[in-house]
Structures are given as C-alpha cells and as structure tokens.
Amino acid sequence: MQLSLLALFAGALLPLGLSTAAAAAATEVPQTSVTFRIPATQHLQNLHTLPASTHATLSTFHKTLSAPLSTSNTFVFRNVTAGSYLVDFHCATHMFAPLRLDVSPPVDDHGGKAPKLVLKAWETFRGNDWDNKGEAVPLRDDVFDARLLGAKSYFMERSKFNVLSILKNPMILLGLVSMAIFIGMPYLVDNMDPEMRAEWDERQKTNPMNGIMGAASGQGGANPVGNFDVAAFLAGSSKKSDNASATSSATLEAASTPSGGKGKGKKR
C-alpha cells in the first residue's frame, strides 16, 4: 500500500521535467517533521519538573523513531515518512495517552513543489482495533498536544499505627462511652444533692438496672417513654409485674441516646 503510493508519487513527478528534482524525489522518500507538545495542565503545571529522560517514540512496521524532550517541552521528529504510527510518550513521572499518527500523502498534488505530507492524529486504545480511533487530536500551529493521564505513583503506602484511626472505630467508641459511664457513675451519685440522692436510692432499691441507666441519661430521671412497656404492649397485655416492665424500659433507654433525660422521672 505504502510502496505503491510512493511509486505513484515518483510517477507523478517525472513528467514535469524536473529531472534532477524528480530523481532526488524518486530516490528520497518524501519526509516531513512532526512535533508533539506537552501542554501545561492543571495536574502538571510546572513542566520543568519533567525529567530529561522523557522521550517519545513513533513505531510502526520496520521503523522506530525516538525524540527527546526539548527545552520547550516538545518532541520534534524529523525525517518522518508516510505511514501509520503508534505514538508513545515515555516519562518516568507521568503517564500520557498513546496516539495514532497517520502521515499520508496529499490526495491531489498539483504544481511542481515537493509534496507535503498530511498529518493526522487520534487517540488510540491499546488492545483495540487499530482503526478504532478515539478523539482526533487537532493540529495547532503544526503541533499536536499530548494528553496527560496522570502522575505515576510507584510506592505503596504503608498502613501506619494511628491512635486516631483506632478511636474512629464505632465499637471502640461504644466501649469507651460505656466505660466512662461505668467509672463516672459512682462519682455522679456522690455529688447528688441529698434530696435527689434519696429519690435515686429509692428507685435503686426497686430496680438497680434502671438506676444505672437513668444516672447515665442525666439527672437520674427516667425518660417518659421509658415507662412504656413494649413487650407488654406487643403481647397485648397491660402492665405486668414491676420487674418485667422495668427491664424492658431499661433496654429501650439503652438504645435511645442519653440526651433525652432532662425530664424528671415519674414515681411508680
């Protein structure tokens, strides 16, 4: 395919009478120069950080061209002949999308000038059909822009021992809260005013469990809802023994947050 096209070229040039030029064109394959550029983007603002080993390659059958990164952040390929090339950007710090570059002879070539090759580039997808082209890369000022995919991170983060991360665990939080209650309750009881203490003691006698939880929920008062006996309600019966209702209310209260305990508890 390529060869035949080139032969066509030579054939088209010869009748023009430019014997020397034609001879040169016949022996020398038309060449062009291709430039790719790394544009400054949000993720790569300082292009000077790119290492000097960064380079780009054009590869196709029986041909590989390589160009180093220039001071103006471009890759300049000279002497590129017609063909369909895979463009790879090799960089130690960043990844770039591979491109497909087609260098093709112009469709109509009039005039005796040396034919200028037409350049077209698309994004390509590895492991897909070569003709499955992505978005076309526009040729701006004779330059194609490379598309940054992202920075490379070579290292794995080691999970570090961190007290905060342990504290973030809900189980640990629950345990801590209950521990605080457990340890703090006796002091709370000691600091109560005598009247309240008496009240509390009274209730403690009837129901130790409720007392504990009640102390946690505030000033020793039970939540009004706490008196609601779910088990009894669900069973369809009215109040049973004191003990049963107290246990279930305690369970309920434990489930509810300790914030709702402002109201004074009713005496049973």
């Binding site: 000077h48 290492p51 000097a52 080993s53 380079h55 390659t57 590869s59 196709t60 059958f61 029986h62 590989t64 390589s66 160009a67 180093p68 990164l69 220039s70 001071t71 300049v76 000279r78 002497n79 369909s84 895979l86 790879d88 090799h90 960089c91 130690a92 990844m95 997808f125 590895r126 492991g127 897909n128 059909d129 070569w130 003709d131 499955n132 992505g134 490379k152 991170s153 070579y154 290292f155 794995m156 080691r158 999970s159 021992f161 003691d201 403690q204 006698k205």
Partner: protein, 976 residues
C-alpha cells in the same frame, strides 16, 4: 469488544494485586549504580553551564554512548542521555561553547544539543552520513555560537561539512565535496574553517586541508601537505588546538622518531625530534580562542613518560620549543586547563599532581597524590585550574582533575585529595552471576573428617570442636544487645557488617559482574551492593571480552569465566583472587559454552566451537549425560550427545534442527537452571486437576522470516529434537526485539506485531505484544494424557501408543503491552511455591517491570465474566491490553539505563527472589511475587507490638490492686 474507556478502567483496577515497593524499603532491599561509562579523553570537559556563575560541571560522553553531567563536588549524576538508545563501543563527539548554556554531541548520524543544566534537548537532527567530527564555532558574525559537523556520506562518496545554527540546529550552510578522501576533522580559527582529510592511496596518504569561508562555507583555498608516507590511516594523525588561535595538525612517523606539525592555513611542515624509545604520543592544547597558542607533546616510553611544550608564533606561524618536563618513571597523564589567556598543564604521576604554566617551566604548585590501592593509576584526565590572586607575587592555585584510571575508575582529585570515585568500569557488563558466600574451609574440612572416621572418634572430634567454638561465645553474647536493638528498631543487623557471613534468609550473596573491558567486580548483595573487590582479568587494550559463560562453583567458592577467544579465568568469589588464567587469543574460537555435569567438580563448562561442535572429551570422568544444544553454521541447531569410550567421551550429533529457507533464529529461551515445580497439576475451581506438561528437556526457539514477516515459535524436545509445538505469528517486525522466556510449564514471547485478524471482523492490531503459552498433559482435566501414570517415559522410544510422540496440549493468549520490553527473565524461588513474575526491562521509561503470572494467564476467560469456579481459581476476565502499573515497577523512581540482561536467584526463604540487572547501570533488588509471607517485613512494627504488650502489662499491674480492693470492699459492704 469492550468500550475503550471501560477497558482502560479495568486495566487500572487489575494490577491491584501487584506488590509494590514501599518507600522505606528503597535503598534497603535494592541498590543501584547510576553510571555513565568510562569517560573518553576527547569528550570529557569542565564547563560552566551558566555564564554568570562560577560553578562548573563535569561533562562526558563515555565509551558506552552515554552523555552526562556530573557535579564535580559530589560526583552525583545530574542528567544522563543514552545517545542512540543502545550501548556503543566508544566513539562520538561532545563539545561545549565557552559561556554557552548548552552542550553539543554527535554520535553515528545524529547531532544533538542539550541544555547544560537540566539535560533537556535543545535541538537534534539526523543526517545521512556518519559524523566524523564536531566543533563549536566560537566566533561568528552574530552573537550566537554555531556547531560545525563533518560528515562522511558513504552513499554519495562525499565529505560534507554543515554549519548548524546554535539556536535551533538549522543548517546555515553546507559544504559538499564529492571525493574519495577520508574526512578526518574540522577545525577553525577566527577567520577560516579548515576541513582536514586524507588524500591519496592507503600506502601513502597526504593531508588535504580545505579552507572555507566562515560566512558562506565556500571554498577559499586548498592545501596539500606531504607526509612522506608517514600516514597510513586516520589513526596516525593527531589533531589538536581545534579552536585555538593557531590550530595545528600533527603526525609522527611509524618509528615515533619525529613529530611533524603544520599550522593550519600554511604549507610549511615543521619537524621535531621525539625522545628515544617513544612508544606513543599524545598532544594536549587549549580549546579557547583567547588562549595562548601553546601545546604540549606527551611522549610515553615503555617505562616512563615526559613532555615537551611548544609555542606557536601567531605572526610568523613558527613553532618553537619552549621547555620540557623531565622523564619520570611510571605511567602518567597530562591535562590542560585554560583561563583567559593563561594555559596550565597538569601532570598526574603516581605520587604527585604537578601544575605548570605553559609559558615557563617553573612548577607553580605540586600536591602529593593519595589514590588508594586498587583504584589503579591515571590513564588520562581533564583539569580545571583556578588561580586566586594572592598578596604580592604569592598566587595560590586550586586544581580539580577528573582522572580515569587503568582499573576503569573515574575519580576526582581536588588539590591532591580524592573527593569522589565512580566505578564507571561496571558499565558494559557482559556476564554476571550470583554466588553463595563461601563457607569457611576449615569447617567443611572438619565436617568431612567427621564423616569419614569411626563414630567414637567422630564424636570426640565433634565435642572438641564445640568446645573450641566456645571461644566465640563472648563475642556472640556481646552482639546480642545490638542485634536486639537493631531488630526492634527495624534497622539492619549490623553484626554481619564487614565480614561475609551467610544469613538465615539467604539474602546475603555475592554478585559477580564481568565487563567487556576485562574487569571483574564482586558485589555484596545484602550490603547495598557494595563493591567488595575488583580485579582486571585481562588487559585487552581496547579489545572486547566476550564472555560466553559465567559459571559458579559454590563448593569451592570459585567463579569461572569462559570467553569466546579461548580465554578462561577462574577467580575466588569472595576476594577476586585469580586462581587460573588463560589469556584470550586473537581469534574467536567459541560461540558459547555448555555447562555439563562432572563427577568430581559437580559441573564444568565446555567451549562450543563455531561449527557447533564440542569435540571428543579427553578428560577422564567427564561424560555429559544431557544433550547439549548448539547452533550450527547453517543457522539451525544441533543436539550433541557424548558416549563413553574408555577414558574418552566421544561426541556425536543426535539430531539436527534445520529451519526452512528464509527463516533464522531470533531468540532461544531455556529453562532457568533453578526451576523447581511445587505442584504437578493445577487444581481448577471444580476440584478437577489439569496436569502440567513438565518436560525438563525443552527449549523455545523463535525464528523469523524476514520476507514474509512471520515469527514461528517452536517448542523443541532436546532429547529427540522433536518439535512439540509450533505457533506462527504474522506481521512480526524482526527488526524490533523478539524475546522469549520459559519456566515451569509455560513460556512467553514478546515482539512487535502489526496484522489483521483472521476472523471476519477486519480488525487490525498494531503494537508490542506478548504471547503466553501454557503446556498441559492433556486438553481434559483429570487426564494425564497418553502416558498416564507411567513412572518413566522417553522422548526417544515412547511409541507404545498409536498416536506417536506425546504432544503437550497448548493454551495460548496474547496481550498488547503498554510499552516495549526486553531482557525477559522469570523469578526463581527456592521451592517454586510462590507464583512467578516475568521481569522485563522497559527501554522506554528505563525501569524493570515485574509482570505477575496472574495477568499472563492463558486461561483467563475472554469475552465473558469469570464463573465463580474460575474466580475461585484466581482467573480474571481477559482484557487484551496490559498497561504496566507503576506499582509493578521494581525499580520504582530509579532511572536504570541500558539493561541488557536480568538474572534471578532464589533465596532461602521461599517468598523471595534476588534480582540483578546489568548492562550500563547495575541494579539489584529482591522481589516477592506472592508477597512476603514467610518473613516479617519492615511494615511489621515491633515498637508498637512491644509498646502494646507493655501497656497491657502496666494496665494489669495497675488495675489488679484496684479490682482486688473493690472486691474486698464489696464483701464488707452490707447489702442495701
């Protein structure tokens, strides 16, 4: 087919199972020698990269084709460029214009200009011819400095000189001369450009100097200078003073009796006597226009060296001898440094560094030189002299000299003190091997003695030995605290530092590297790859050492290198002491070497001749049991077997593998020497077993057909020569690297392919590919194929079944790779239980990638999601592309250039494989393909562990009394 975005996503998600390197392991598990290659005298220089700053850098284009900049203070490489992408055998040109911020280089047919500070490219151009010389035009009609490049265009038989613009590499003018002359060099002074070429016949060349106009490149004059038959080739002519005010051309007669010098632009030839017994001469002169036109002739005799300094009169072009520097015994080197008009010559002898001015013979300053033993003596160097104006006539001088020694070290001497040394000789490595640290011979001897004596004596001997060993106890007890502390803090165990002792993990080994320049290096793998010793095996005088086999004998602690020219050298692995030595001959005699079994020595290497034969072996006891596969001159392979005939082992060709016409072998892959298989089958998700085809006598041969652009991958049985399987790949580019690797029951091949699918989809593929093939005994699960459970089988006589030879069932898949790869190697572990990785060098990004086997799995389901059973087996959905995840790069951020080969070695712990890559750089690391499952890594925080235990203990101790008192109180409290 997947939508491209999705497949890209999948790819990013896939290698999450890859084990990456942790940041804190860098420098702990790996080591890297960032090298340039041995600097060449003409292409090494100090240069100030910024005009207004005083600091200068050291630039060199080395003999392996690396151009780089080194900080002369620290010896750290600032930037490197491998000029034509592969290792060269010297040559090339590099120059920098005074006060310019760029460095120009030329190699082969390319001309580059690089930013002197950061190594970025300023411009580059490829031309048709081969570059013969490169010069900077210091004085041009405008501010800019340009580059003059001389080309020899073979195609058109012409000498072409191009002046390239120093800004963008554009050709300012071109001078073309269609002659058969041999272009030698270009030189210029303020007004003219001179092209010097050899003119005439090889018997008696004359020098032709073509004088060109600097503005237009038009020929102004042409001078022919007779040489009276002294010059027979381009190496007979020495050129100097390329950019000095009065450039000269100099040559000697064959007997080194006379030196003949011509000032370019004149017709006269001036003759000077050389000292008697001169073996070779070198000429040193400044390169700056403003420098005084003085030059120094360094003449070496067999035992010593001396120098003569000459001055050129700018008006009359007459050369006069100014003074001479006396003959000193031993080798020496001279270097030139110029600042402004002053020219200084620095002389490096074995004991001293002497500085003289070009104007007079008085020694300006001398420094005693302290180069430590083992670094060799100076061969050549470059210097930078700084003059500080002192009070009165007391000027003080400071000098920095970068010296290349005869043991291929590059060192910087600052006022006589060595400030850094770079082991540049390790570049150009051609062979390497891992060796165990030799155990102490006494222990081995006494153990042997015990084995051979009667039980009682052996027992007594053993008790005595143990009592004797008690003397090491105090030292051992002493070392316990430090070991404990370092173990807790996670630092290295320091007790083995300084001595070579095997460790319990098997990480402490030696890596022995042989280079093409005839040097051998011994590296301590566990100790950050520290160089333990270096030895020059052969003095090759610029020749090349082709090592065909590096063969380690761990029982005797020796390594043998067998070269292609009949050379053979045996060294001790721990000291580098040469115990046997046979120098190379002039002819290439061997194509490779075969490692065969030996009754007493264990193994032995035998040279394979160029005709693919080994010859009958006369040594008694050597009868190689295995078939040896050699390349025959017809481009095929021979299988050679030996049969014992008395004391002689007779050679015979068992089989011959000839390729069809047009095909030739591109690559051969053999099994690694340590290829243990942990399991003979693979358990599938449904609990059935697919049995692996494990034939140890197989090799993979990749053969290309250039006309048809096809690649055929043959799997050969080396006992019978039978082709077990063949795969044909179309549209394969034979000019790009084709490589294969094999292990266990699978092999991989990589190549550049461009072809259209053979199904009707009309799709085509272009890119670097990797094909992986698994071999099984049968297509079916739970089936061991025709051989069944037979305990023995033979490739030669298996024909007990009507199907003939047992052929493996092959499953293959191909993948498109994200980058070209080379130097394939498979990891080796002790038991083969860990999964394997394919290690490969990425020439694009200068790294080494570890591709996990789980990705390269031919049984990955294509076009559908894996079934639960397949998922259980660890199979992931096939996606045609493999993008290399940065986390799978074992070299991580390091820039490892020019890797030619990677070798691996198992450690004692199963999880880990030791890796060494060589070529230009030397890089070593440890990889754990299935994670570190048998040792605690650095991530195991012993401090936290101990801290937690201590905290809990403290808690128990503190809370115990509290709880106890509470319990007692409870008992004593009346129930309420």
């Amino acid at each position: 087919m997947l939508p491209p975005q999705l497949s890209a996503l999948l790819l990013l998600a896939l290698p999450s199972a890859v084990r990456a390197v942790f940041q804190d392991e860098v420098g702990h598990i790996d080591y890297h020698y960032e090298l340039l290659g041995v600097p060449q005298q003409e292409t090494t220089f100090f240069h100030r990269p910024r005009r207004d700053e005083k600091a200068s850098l050291l630039y060199t284009l080395s003999d392996v084709g690396v151009l780089g900049a080194v900080n002369p203070k620290t010896g750290v490489v600032l930037w490197r460029q491998l000029l034509n992408g592969s290792i060269t055998e010297g040559g090339g040109f590099a120059r920098a214009g005074e006060g310019e911020n760029w460095v120009a280089s030329a190699l082969g047919k390319s001309v580059h200009a690089w930013d002197a500070v950061n190594g970025r490219n300023k411009f580059w151009t490829d031309f048709d011819g081969e570059v013969k010389d490169l010069e900077i035009m210091e004085m041009t009609e405008n501010e800019r400095k340009d580059v003059l490049v001389l080309f020899d265009e073979d195609k058109t038989h012409s000498t072409v000189l191009r002046r390239l613009s120093g800004d963008d590499g554009r050709v300012v003018w071109e001078f073309k001369d269609v002659t058969k002359d041999i272009p030698l060099q270009v030189s210029n002074n303020v007004e003219k450009v001179f092209v010097i070429s050899l003119w005439g016949t090889p018997a008696a060349y004359n020098l032709k100097v073509t004088v060109l106009d600097t503005l237009t490149g038009k020929r102004v004059d042409e001078l022919v200078i007779g040489t009276k038959g002294d010059v027979h080739g381009k190496e007979d002519v020495m050129f100097v003073g390329a950019n000095s005010a009065a450039p000269i051309v100099a040559w000697t007669d064959a007997a080194h009796k006379h030196l003949r010098v011509n000032v370019l632009g004149t017709k006269t030839r001036q003759e000077f006597m050389l000292p008697d017994d001169t073996v070779s001469i070198e000429i040193h002169a400044p390169h700056l226009v403003q420098s005084q036109p003085h030059f120094l002739v360094h003449s070496k005799t067999a035992t010593g060296n001396r120098a003569d300094v000459y001055h050129v009169d700018l008006k009359t072009n007459v050369i006069t001898k100014a003074y001479d520097l006396p003959l000193l015994a031993g080798p020496g080197a001279f270097s030139t440094s110029s600042s402004g008009a002053n020219v200084y010559f620095a002389r490096v002898t074995e004991e001293e560094l002497i500085l003289v001015s070009s104007a007079s013979h008085g020694v300006l300053k001398r420094w005693p030189l302290k180069i430590e033993a083992g670094k060799g003596s100076a061969v050549h160097g470059v210097s930078e002299v700084v003059k500080k104006d002192g009070p009165g006539a007391e000027d003080s001088f400071a000098i920095r000299s970068a010296i290349v020694t005869n043991s291929d070290e590059w060192l910087l001497v600052r006022n006589g003190e060595v400030s850094w040394t770079r082991p540049e000789g390790m570049t150009g490595a051609v062979a390497a091997a891992f060796a165990e640290i030799p155990e102490s011979e006494e222990l081995a001897k006494s153990l042997e003695q015990e084995a051979h004596s009667n039980p009682l004596e052996a027992y007594i001997h053993r008790v005595k030995r143990h009592i004797h060993d008690l003397q090491h106890l105090p030292a051992y007890l002493n070392s316990i605290p430090t070991r404990l502390l370092s173990s807790v803090l996670g630092t290295d165990v320091t007790s083995t530092e300084g001595e070579l002792v095997r460790d319990s993990f098997g990480f402490h080994k030696l890596a022995i590297i042989a280079t093409r320049r005839g040097m051998v290096y011994g590296l301590d793998v566990a100790n950050s790859g520290k160089i333990l010793w270096n030895t020059r095996a052969f003095d090759l005088n610029g020749g090349r050492w082709n090592v065909t086999a590096a063969h380690v004998n761990d029982t005797s602690g020796q390594i043998a290198f067998r070269g292609s020219n009949g050379d053979f050298v045996v060294l001790k692995t721990d000291t580098g002491e040469v115990s046997y030595w046979n120098p190379p001959g002039p002819e290439v005699l061997a194509q490779s070497a075969a490692i065969v079994d030996h009754d007493e020595l264990g193994t032995l290497s035998l040279p394979v001749r160029l005709d693919g034969k080994i010859g009958d072996l006369q040594q008694p006891g050597v009868v190689p049991r295995n078939t040896i596969v050699t390349r025959n001159p017809q481009g095929g392979l021979n299988g050679i077997v030996f049969t014992a005939d008395g004391d002689v082992a007779r050679e015979s060709i068992a089989w011959e593998f000839s390729l069809p016409k047009g095909q030739h072998i591109a690559n051969i892959a053999t099994r690694p020497s340590h290829d243990v298989v942990a399991s003979i089958g693979r358990v599938l998700g449904d609990r059935t077993v697919k049995y692996k085809y494990l034939n140890p006598n197989t090799i993979v041969v990749a053969a290309t057909d250039d006309d048809a652009s096809t690649l055929r991958v043959y799997l050969l049985d080396t006992v019978s020569g039978q082709i077990l399987s063949v795969a044909k790949h179309e549209g394969v580019d034979a000019e790009k690297p084709i490589e294969c690797a094999m292990a266990e029951n699978w092999f991989v091949c990589t190549f550049f392919g461009q072809y259209t699918f053979q199904d009707d989809s009309a799709q085509s593929i272009k890119g670097y590919q990797m094909v992986v093939s698994d071999l099984y005994e049968s297509d079916e699960a739970n089936d061991r194929g025709p051989l069944g459970d037979a305990p023995n089988s033979s490739s030669l006589g298996p024909i007990d079944n009507p199907l003939g030879v047992v052929l493996p069932s092959v499953v293959s898949k191909s993948f498109i790779l994200g980058a070209p790869i080379s130097a394939l190697q498979v990891t080796q572990t002790r038991q083969g239980i860990s999964s394997r990785q394919v290690l490969a060098y990425l020439p694009g990004t200068h790294g080494i990638v570890g591709i996990p086997r789980i990705l390269l799995e031919p049984r990955r389901p294509a076009g559908r999601d894996p079934t639960p059973a397949e998922m259980e087996e660890g199979l992931i959905k096939y996606s045609p592309a493999i993008e290399f995840d940065p986390k799978s790069i074992v070299t991580h951020e390091r820039d490892v250039i020019g890797v030619q080969k990677i070798i691996t070695s198992p450690a004692i712990v199963e999880s880990t494989s030791l890796v060494l890559a060589y070529g230009i750089d030397v890089f070593g690391t440890r990889v754990a393909p299935s994670f570190l499952f048998d040792i605690l890594g650095k991530g195991f925080n012993k401090v936290t562990l101990i801290g937690t235990v201590l905290a809990i203990t403290a808690g128990v101790v503190g809370l115990g009394p509290m709880v106890r008192s509470k319990q007692i109180n409870m008992r004593w409290q009346a129930p309420m």
